[in-house]
Every structure is written in C-alpha cells, then in structure tokens.
C-alpha cells in the first residue's frame, strides 16, 4: 500500500521519530501531572469532610448546652466543595486560583462567597503544564517541524521534479501531510485517551475533546501547507510558520485579553463588598422594626412570630444579615454580567484565534473555566439559601437547638 510506503519513508527521516516521541512524551507528562493534581484535589475534598464533622461536634458540644439556635447558626461552618470533573486533568484551568472547597455560614453570604484560595501567585502566573497547554502551544510547533519542508525539502533535495514526473500531485502532498498530521495526533491524543479512561470520563465528551484538538491540529497543518505552497525555501517556511505561531498563540490572545478587560471593566466586586458591609452594619443602628419589616417583606412566613423586645435578638441579627445581601443583589448581578460578558467575548475571540478557541473548548469540557467557577458559586448560593431556611424556624420560633439538630442541617451534595 502506498501509505505504508510513505510511512516507512517518513519514519526514516532524521527528525521524524524523535519529534513524535518528544510530543508523546510531553503529552504523557502533562496527562500524568494533570491526573496527579486532580487526585490531590479529590484527596483534599475527602480530607475536609471528617475534619468538618469534628469541627461541628466541637461547636455542638458547647452550643447545645444552652440550645441557642443563633449561636449554632453563627458558629457552625458548612463545607462545600466542587469535585473535579472527569476531564479536569486535561485542562486544570482556574482551579488553581479559585477555591474548590469553601465553608459558609448562615450569615451574609456576599462577605463569604468571594473568599479566595491560598496559592502561590508566582506559580499561578506561570500556569500549569497540563494537556491543554501541550495541545494548544506545543503541538503546533511539532507540526511545524514535521510539515514546514514537506514540498520545499523535496525541492531542495532535487527530488521534486522526479516526484512530479512520477505523477505526484496534490494527492501525494495531502497523503504525506495527512500521515504526519495523523501521527502527531496519535502521539498527542493517545496519552489523553489513556488519562480519560483512567479518570473515568464519558466517551462522548472525551471524543469531543479529541475532535476539537484534531480540528485545531488540522488548522495548523493547513497553515503549514498554505505557507509551503508559496514556494519558498524550507528555512523561510520555518521562520514564517514560527512567526505565525507566535502571533496566533501569544500576541493576538494577549491583545484580545487587553481589549476585553479594558472594554468590560469589572469593578463591582469590590464595590459590592464595600456596600454590603455598610448595609449589614448599618443594621445595628437602625430601628429594629424597620429592619424586621423589610425582612418580613422578603420572608412573610416569619411575620407573625414573637416580636423582638430585648436589646439584642438573633432574629434581628439574621434579618439584617440577609438584608445586607439583598441590598447588593443588583451589584452582584451586574458583577456577574461583567464576568460573563468577558467570558462570552473570549469565546467569540476563539472563532478567530484557534488557540483561544481550543482552550475555551477544552476548559469548558473539563469544567474548569470561569463558567464552572460561577456555577459552583450558584450552587453555594442555593446551599446557603437552604442553610438559612434550616436555621430560621429555630431562630424565629425560638426553638432550642439541641445536639440532635446538628445532624438535621442540610448537607452539601455534589449534584447541587
């Protein structure tokens, strides 16, 4: 078969096998580090649950003596976590800087939900060596090495005319380019497939990720062929392709980032936390009736509970905590819209910048992008709502909170 012949010819080239082995090696190392990181995250999540249970027991030990539900709600943290998706190993994304474990209390949520993770910013600046990185940045370079002299190499070796005379035409070059592309894809994709199998990823999403990567590599192969068709020397092709690579994977994405972040400023994060603090703490100085009435407008079901007569009552305290959150709801929404707009424009940029497109696609599939981070926050918000609604009956009906009640509190479920 002619393809077999081409394969033998190709593999006998000096740079062919080392280049492919290098790509396979880089891909394997990236998959291994990704799997290691995902296991570390999973272990952390598993580790915090017993820790959290002990914490709760310690709180319960002194709170249940007095049975004050307000104390229970104030002192009990509730763990939430965002387990890595099956493909997270391939694209670690934002999980290094955004927390994937977070504790919340039934207090105002906006002062808790933006909490960050403790990480080494210098290392975050460099980024992770994950499979998405190898596929996006290194695989095109490997393809350039394999394809930049496809035609020009034959011409420089003096074989071009002979090949053309022997009936070599577009078909020949496509066959040869396809062969190189295919081998590079296998070298890149096989370790990923193994990683996906190990982490138990669904076949559908794994294949989709491979498909996106194949398209990306095909794009670069076409660029190589297109540059080759200009008829320049191998060295000129190499230089032109490397310059194209720099433009498409470094310069233009950085420009796009600059453009997107400056046209869509996102300052509401700081503003809303400042405003929320004011709203919450102003609660101490406002008449209690005003606070409670405002709260009852949102939660009429507690309107008919016994009125607050003393100087301090948890009812009132939790009411203004919640009102603090409500007062910045618009800013929270605007903040989120800003973040989503940045993400949406990035996705649009991905249509023109293949490297951005592949990164966006892979991180979406791996559920490690900004959208996944926001989705985790949504689940925390829903969970926090359940927490509040769990504690309110005890607080508003002034029901004692006993040891057994701790076990009744809502638990974080991974499916949200």
């Amino acid at each position: 078969m002619r393809l077999g012949q081409e394969l033998r010819l190709f593999l006998r080239q000096r740079l062919a096998v080392p280049t492919l082995v290098l790509l396979a090696l880089l891909s394997t190392v990236s998959v291994a580090t990704g799997l290691w990181e995902v296991r570390r995250q999973t272990e952390t999540i598993a580790r915090i649950q017993p820790l959290q249970a002990e914490e709760e027991k310690a709180v319960s030990a002194w709170v249940s003596r007095e049975g004050d539900a307000g104390n229970a709600a104030y002192y009990t943290f509730h763990a939430t976590w965002d387990p890595p998706a099956a493909l997270a190993f391939a694209a670690l994304g934002q999980r290094d800087v955004a927390p994937y474990v977070l504790r919340v209390r039934a207090l105002a949520l906006e002062s808790q939900i933006h909490e960050g993770e403790a990480y080494n910013a210098e290392l975050a600046l460099s980024g992770r060596f994950d499979w998405a990185f190898v596929a996006t940045f290194l695989a095109p370079l490997i393809l350039i090495v394999l394809l930049h002299d496809l035609v020009s190499g034959e011409r420089e070796a003096g074989r071009l005319q002979a090949l053309q005379a022997a009936g070599g035409s577009t078909g020949l070059w496509l066959r040869r380019a396809g062969l190189r592309l295919g081998l590079a894809f296998v070298a890149l994709g096989a370790p990923f497939a193994a990683g996906a199998w190990i982490s138990g990823a669904a076949a559908g999403v794994s294949l989709a990720a491979l498909g996106a990567t194949a398209l990306y590599l095909a794009f670069w192969a076409l660029v190589c062929l297109g540059v080759g068709a200009l008829g320049r020397s191998s060295v000129a092709n190499g230089a032109l392709l490397a310059a194209t690579w720099v433009a498409l994977t470094l310069v233009l994405p950085a420009l796009a980032h600059l453009l997107i972040n400056s046209t869509i400023p996102v300052r509401q994060g700081v503003e809303l936390t400042l405003a929320q603090r004011e709203a919450v703490h102003a609660g101490w100085d406002k008449p209690k009736d005003a606070t409670l009435n405002a709260f009852f407008a949102a939660h009429p079901e507690w309107r008919d509970t016994p009125p607050v007569l003393t100087g301090f009552h948890w009812k009132w305290y939790y009411a203004f905590q919640h009102l603090g959150d409500l007062s910045v709801a618009d800013q929270v929404a605007a903040y989120r819209r800003g973040l989503e707009a940045r993400d949406a424009w990035t996705a649009r940029a991905g249509w023109f910048l293949p490297a951005v497109g592949l990164q966006t696609t892979l991180h979406r599939m791996a559920e490690t992008d900004l959208a996944a981070q926001l989705a985790y926050q949504d689940r925390i918000r829903a969970f926090h709502e359940r927490l509040r609604r769990f504690y309110y009956p005890y607080i508003f009906n002034e029901t004692p909170f006993r040891e057994g009640d701790f076990a009744k509190a809502p638990r974080w479920a991974e499916d949200g």
Partner: protein, 482 residues
C-alpha cells in the same frame, strides 16, 4: 573604522534593506510601545481606583456612628494594596493576587478580587506588558533576524569572501554580535523610554530602574550571543533556526510551566479551608473562651485579679470583657502569624525551587529579577499581607482596649437588658477617627534590589555561558572556515 564595526554596520544596512527584518523589528517595537503605553495608563488607572476605594473605606470607617467598640471590631476595615510605580512596566503577580483585604476581629480573610479570577482564560495566555514583550518576544525577533547571520553566509560563500579580505573569523562573529546587539537595543528602546518616564514622572526609584534596564540588556545580550553562536555552529541555517526556536520555546514557554508543576508536586500546600480548621483546633487547645472552666482563661482571670489586687472581676477598674477580648485576639493573632509564616515559608521554598529551573531558562531568571526590582513579586504581596495583618491587630486591639477602658463591666454585661447601659456602651465616634489609617510601606529600594539578586546571579551565569559559547563558536569558525 575597525573591521568589526564595518561588518556590524554592513549587517545593519543589510537588515534595513530586508523587508522581513524591517517588519519583525517594527512589529516588536510597536508592540512594546503599545504595551508600555497601556501598562502605564492601566497601572495608573488601577492605582487611582485603589486609592479611591481606600479613601472611601477610610472615610466610611471614620464616619461610623457611636457604637460599642466590639461592633467596630466586626465592622472591620478594608485595605487595598497600592500598585508600585514600576508595576506599569512589569505588573508581575499583581493580576494573580487579590488586591483588597477585609480586616476584622479574630478572623483572617483572603485578599480578594484579583484579576485572574475576574478574567476569562485569556489571562493565561500572558499579559501584554513591556516586560512580557521583551522577555518572550524580544528573543524570538533576535532569533528570526540572527539565525542566518553566519550560517547563511557560510552556505553562500560570503564568509569565505570576508576571510579572503584578511578578516579573522572571530572578527566576523564579533561584527554580527554587535549588529544584533544594536537590534536588541532597538527592541529595548520603548521599554527603556517607559522606564525613564516612570523614573522621572512616576516616582520609580532610580536604582531599581537601572537594575531593570541593565537586567533586560544583559538578558537580550545573552540571546544575541546564543543566536549568533548557534548560527556559527549549526550545520545549516535551517538547523540553526530549528535549534534556536526550540531553545526559545523551552526557555520562555515550557520551563516556566514545568517549574510550576515540579514545585507544586515537590511541595504541595494545604488549602485555605484546612488551614482555617487547623487554626481553630490549635486555638481551642490553648484556650476556649466559650468554656467557662477553660484552664487558660481561668488562669488569665486569676492573674488579672491578682495584678489589680481584687477578688472579683466586677471590682476591676477596667472592663474585664475588654481584657478577655484582647487576650483572645492575642491568641488568635499569634496563631495567624505562625500559620502565615509557615505558608509564606512554603511558598518561598516553591518559588526558590521554580527559580532553580532558571538554570535551564534565562527567561525565568530575568522574570524573577524583573518582578523583584519592580516590587511586583510574591514577596511584595506577602509584605502587603503581613503589614495588613499587623494593622488589623493594631486597630482591633485598640478597639478592644477602648472596650476595656471606656466601658464599665456592668454596662457591658447588661447592655442588652438595660437600654441605658446599652446607650452608655456606645462610645463617641471620635475614637474611630483617631484610629490610624493603613499606610502601606513598600519594599525599600535596598530590599527590592536584594530580592532581585538571585535572578541577577542566574542571569550573570547565563551571560557567562553565552559568552563562552560565543568564544567557542569563534574558535570553531576560525578553524573550520575551510
């Protein structure tokens, strides 16, 4: 004119007549200029926003009404990390750390709202700053322009023609180095202008500016020497290009990421949540203020009573609740400091390990130098966190002291039962205004320069390596010219 200068001048004349070289240099100079302009204006803008927010937070703190001091402990304070003047040149980790911190009693919050969590994935593609342009793109342009400097002339026979004029091979090599160094100077020029501008009008310290200018000049010189040497040594211009681009990819793209993963794998750090829990547990071991029979607080009460010579807390001349608050804060803060120290030490170890890989990458070396001299390295963020924590402790203890001294124990105990007591515990808001504002003390120039030393040393090592490579290449060229 000496032959070396003549060769260099001719090389530059040739480059000036080559369209590809013109475009490459023009693009990188333009990019560098755009990066410098936007980085400086964005840096100034975000500094303005931060100082505006800081002023707002200060104003709001000062403007709080009469309150129980403990309310203010929980009202807390916001502090913002100011941007150093040179962040316009190299923002370093600024985007990757939160820039604002909420300070309150007996809690340590994280610095939040860093750009990295507010940006899409694009932030991972690198930021277009003057530092990035020179670190990553500068060498690449030098490679594109210089890979053929000797290889192509050897292939075409022009090298022999030079030698036939009685010029030594080393002189040819030196001439090409001088010419490529001139190109490097051109690439560096917009960044240098930006640096000088920052020094003159932005308040950037001159020694740090000199260090940056020198560091980047050495960095580009390293690439000039490597490029010219590889061009002299490689069997063909094509393999010179391949070798150089591969070396660049390893240095600028691969090594930083590999360094991250190696450092994280070798020294993983606990998550914030685990640290919080660990602090809580340690705290309970020392003293549990919720436990009426806690040995630590019993001993504390006994010692307080003894030192005032009274037998009941009610008889103390100060508010015992305030003293308890101070003691509690002292305990938690000591733990915060201990854990933060441990975390900082761990991160320093990680960064040091990653920097060691700078042995394989001059880009890592210059990046370390650049961030340190610009005051935008991790150390700068740590300094902010430590000063903010010290400030937190100061204002919280100040408020606790007010609680101890300005309030009576009986008022404080009965404030929720007795409306009059409840009114008396709300002290005059002048106390909030008297609380000092947060003043961030940035790294002194000496500290910044000291922090830049490891990077400088690595860069020096690279310069030595590149220099000896060029020397060896000259020898090979002279010997193998036939």
């Amino acid at each position: 004119m000496s032959p070396v200068l003549r060769i260099a001048a001719n090389e530059l004349r040739l480059l000036a007549r080559t369209r590809v070289a013109q475009i490459a240099v023009a693009l990188v100079v333009a990019l560098s200029a755009v990066a410098a302009l936007t980085a400086i204006s964005q840096g100034r803008e975000s500094q303005e926003i931060r100082s505006r927010f800081q002023a707002q937070a200060d104003r709001e703190f000062d403007g709080q009404p009469a309150r129980h001091p403990h309310r203010m402990v929980h009202y807390g304070h916001f502090v913002f990390r100011p941007l150093p003047a040179l962040a316009g040149f190299d923002p370093g980790v600024d985007a990757f750390t939160g820039s604002t911190l909420f300070l309150e009693g007996h809690r340590q919050n994280s610095a939040n709202f860093g750009d990295v969590r507010q940006s899409s994935l694009l932030v991972r593609f690198g930021q277009l700053t003057p530092a990035f342009v020179i670190q990553a793109l500068g060498p690449l342009v030098l490679i594109f322009i210089g890979f053929g400097a000797l290889a192509r002339e050897r292939e075409s026979g022009l090298l022999r023609l030079h030698l036939a004029q009685g010029v030594g091979a080393r002189q040819v090599l030196a001439g090409k180095v001088v010419a490529l160094a001139a190109v490097a100077g051109l690439i560096l020029a917009p960044a240098l202008i930006a640096l000088v501008w920052l020094a003159l009008f932005g308040g950037a310290p001159a020694p740090a500016v000199a260090m940056l200018a020198g560091g980047y000049a050495v960095y580009l010189l390293v690439w000039v020497l490597i490029t010219t040497s590889v061009s002299a040594l490689a069997p063909s211009s094509r393999s010179a290009l391949a070798l150089l681009v591969a070396g660049w990819a390893v240095s600028a793209i691969l090594a930083p990421r590999l360094a991250t993963d190696i450092a994280l794998a070798a020294m993983p750090q606990a998550s914030r949540l685990e640290t919080d829990i660990a602090i809580q547990r340690d705290l309970k071991k020392i003293g549990d203020s919720h436990n009426p029979d806690d040995p630590h607080f019993n001993a504390f009460r006994a010692s307080v009573l003894k030192s005032y010579g009274v037998s009941r807390v009610e008889d103390l001349p100060v508010n015992y609740r305030g003293l308890i608050a101070m003691e509690g804060e002292r305990l938690t803060s000591a733990l915060f400091d201990r854990y933060a120290e441990r975390q900082f030490a761990g991160q320093r170890e990680q960064s040091r390990m990653a920097l060691i890989l700078g042995l394989a990458s001059p880009t890592l070396a210059v990046r370390s130098l650049s961030m340190a001299a610009s005051g935008t390295d991790l150390e700068g963020h740590r300094r902010f966190l430590q000063q903010a924590e010290a400030y937190r402790y100061t204002i919280v203890q100040g408020l606790n002291r007010l609680q101890a001294e300005a309030l009576t124990f009986s008022d404080d105990t009965n404030r929720n039962r007795d409306p009059e007591a409840g009114r008396r515990v709300r002290i005059d808001p002048g106390a909030w205004r008297r609380t000092p504002d947060f003043v961030y003390r940035p790294a002194s120039t000496a500290e910044a320069l000291t922090a830049a030393l490891p990077g400088l040393a690595l860069l020096g090592l690279w310069a030595g390596l590149a220099g000896s490579l060029a020397w060896g290449a000259g020898r090979r060229l002279a010997r193998g010219a036939g």
